[in-house]
């Protein structure tokens, strides 16, 4: 089976015009096979995207992309529940569930399990496959040994197994909005201050050391997770989907670079070098190498 390059949903609060233009360019120029769309972080932002959602989906589909709709990460409040139910009324597109409530409502429909559902082992994969999941995107914190076991078992269960290979690692979700809190506001009167930070709000330690990135209710890594040098190993494990999470840089160039690795035209380390030239944000692969997530293990570890 040909490996799939997936573009995950835009996590940040981009102005709707920019959001639409981003997907137009992805449709025209990015060599990705699948695109996951939807506002998954904050239900307050979703209404801004709604007017152009059909247009964006249509444009991506017309370009031959496999389009998935993602459900929100955290569904607790009435507004979040309503948003989730509204989203699931659309039965034209396959869905990616990021919460167990969405998974419940997707029984009997073609769906994928997103990276925000805790899939940590083969027993969980078996249960998910038994309920009709066709693909599972693994949590970023899993080390190589777990990925290898789950790729093997998941594939045997008929699941298409995915790993995030680029973009800030999602680390936490909360009911509290840290963007609003940092600006002395409450979530209800947030003034959408998260829109000021299209790549996340940097958070440093008391010493001024860059550490985390805040995106409203979500906390992400400061560095960009980058598993370009690990692509061959992931392929050998049986991983068949490779997820790029959009950041505020040339994602078409990022997609072309990872595509070239999948096509055997470029080496992973070569792409790592290009990523370093593209951004001053540090690259990280520590989770995969069973280290602190923030770390970057320079030399690929020996094959499992």
């Amino acid at each position: 089976m040909k490996p799939t390059l997936t573009l995950g949903p835009v996590l940040f609060n981009w102005p709707v015009q920019r959001w639409r233009d981003f997907y137009a360019r992805i449709a025209d120029e990015a060599p990705v096979d699948a695109v996951v769309v939807g506002e998954i972080v904050c239900s307050k932002r979703a209404p801004f995207l709604a007017p152009v959602m059909d247009e964006v989906i249509g444009r991506l589909a017309a370009a031959g992309k496999e389009v998935w709709l993602a459900t929100p990460i955290l569904v607790g409040s009435d507004r979040e529940r309503t948003a989730m139910r509204d989203l699931l009324e659309c039965d034209l597109l396959p869905m990616e569930a990021n919460d167990m409530g969405a998974l419940a409502l997707l029984e009997g429909r073609r769906h994928a399990v997103g990276p925000f559902i805790n899939s940590y082992n083969e027993a969980t994969l078996a249960w998910l496959a038994g309920r009709g999941a066709v693909a599972v995107s693994l949590p970023a914190e899993l080390p190589a040994a777990a990925v290898a076991t789950m790729a093997k078992m998941g594939t045997a269960l008929g699941l298409s197994m995915e790993v995030q290979v680029f973009g800030r690692a999602p680390l936490a979700i909360s009911a509290r909005c840290y963007h609003a809190r940092a600006h002395g506001l409450h979530k209800d009167g947030c003034q959408f201050v998260c829109g000021n930070d299209p790549d996340g709000m940097p958070v440093s330690t008391v010493d001024g050391q860059p550490f985390l990135s805040v995106n409203g209710t979500q906390t992400l890594s400061h560095g960009y997770l980058a598993l370009a040098a690990e692509m061959d190993r992931l392929l050998a494990m049986g991983i068949r989907r490779f997820r790029l999470s959009p950041q505020d840089l040339d994602m078409v160039a990022v997609a072309k670079a990872f595509r070239a690795v999948l096509d055997g035209e470029r080496s992973g380390p070569d792409v790592v070098a290009e990523l370093r030239r593209m951004t001053g944000v540090p690259l990280e692969n520590g989770f995969f190498h069973n280290m602190a997530g923030v770390a970057y293990a320079g030399a690929p570890a020996p094959a499992a």
Binding site: V75, G76, L105, N121, E122, A123, V203, T219
Partner: protein
């Protein structure tokens, strides 16, 4: 008949006896390994200690719940499955689980065993809770600390599954079981190893008259002379939102504060919450005895319709400050 069960923590046999003697309705505990979310050195129970704990508690009509609430490691499911088997064999009254695969295992192999859904599963809506009930016969859900009391009330009106909520102790500002901050800084996580901000990665570093607390490669807080130095739990540190250096860093995620929802008892009763949970399996027996006794007195007074006595627990809360957390909307 008290409207609430009081669910109390025990990190060792002495703490369990303290909780039972102080008026717990149920005590929750874990095995001494990575299968539970308080996998700290010197804590938790061997199989023999669980057997003794069950005997002690059952003789006093107190229940014992076993938390097996980390996510089993891929390729190494046996320790978690054995933990469920042993909890059932040793007559635990319930197991508290989070992982879908382990819930499936428990439901299939131990159909008589009562299953509770751990807070680490972060089931925050009626649709999710119904799924856990229908798929695994989960009888009770420990709610994640993301819901307001009115949201809990609406949830209980919709779903006929018992709900248990945290009322006292440490407070995660993040949705539980969906946080890898600790893993990011140290490589060790609540979901995988059952630890958060582990002591093995903590260092205190004098800086002139000040004291810095570090976790992994990061400074989590700096305490001025005379300021009490707290433990560097990652999400309770001082950081600089916006990046760079600042003379005035902020408690961006949460202050070093403790949850105390005592004032919400009438609302939690109206919301049809069935059990109140005290956090703190890492605490000593004196702390457990004091907190459980105080909550026992408060719940008994509440059940009799008497004024709820104010608790003299100031010395027992982190940083000396208390919050009702996510239960009130302004927290968000």
């Amino acid at each position: 008949m008290n409207p609430f069960e009081l669910i109390c923590p025990a990190g060792n046999p002495a703490a369990l006896r303290a909780a039972v003697d102080a008026g717990a309705d149920a005590v929750y505990l874990g095995f001494r390994d990575e299968t539970n979310a308080r996998n700290f050195p010197g804590l938790n129970f061997s199989r023999a200690e669980l057997a003794e704990a069950v005997a002690y508690a059952h003789a006093r009509s107190v229940q014992v719940f076993v938390a097996i609430n980390t996510y089993p490691q891929a390729g190494n499911l046996a320790p978690w499955q054995r933990a469920v088997d042993d909890a059932a064999r040793l007559k635990a009254d319930a197991v508290i689980l989070a992982d879908l695969g382990l819930l499936d295992y428990a439901a299939r192999h131990h159909p008589e065993l009562r299953l509770h859904l751990s807070v680490q599963a972060s089931a925050a809506n009626a649709e999710a809770i119904r799924l856990y009930r229908d798929a695994f016969r989960v009888r009770r859900v420990v709610l994640p600390r993301v819901l307001t009391v009115p949201e809990i009330a609406r949830l209980n009106a919709e779903v006929d599954v018992e709900t248990e909520v945290f009322v006292f102790g440490g407070l995660c500002p993040m949705a539980e079981g969906r946080c890898s901050l600790s893993s990011y800084a140290t490589g060790l996580s609540p979901n995988k190893q059952g630890v958060c901000s582990p002591a093995s990665h903590v260092r205190y570093e004098p800086r002139g008259a000040a004291l810095a607390s570090r976790l992994g490669g990061f400074t989590i807080n700096v305490f001025g002379a005379g300021e009490p130095a707290g433990y560097p739990t990652l999400c309770k540190g001082r950081f600089v939102p916006g990046g760079g250096a600042s003379a005035d860093p902020a408690y961006l995620f949460e202050e070093p504060t403790s949850l105390n929802a005592l004032e919400l008892l009438p609302d939690l009763k109206a919301a049809k919450v069935c059990a109140l949970k005290i956090e703190g399996r890492q605490r000593g027996k004196a702390y457990i005895a004091a907190v459980v006794a105080a909550y026992r007195r408060a719940l008994d007074a509440f059940a009799r319709g008497q004024p709820v006595p104010s608790l003299d627990l100031d010395a027992m809360v982190e940083g000396g400050s208390q919050t009702t957390g996510a239960y009130t909307r302004a927290w968000r």
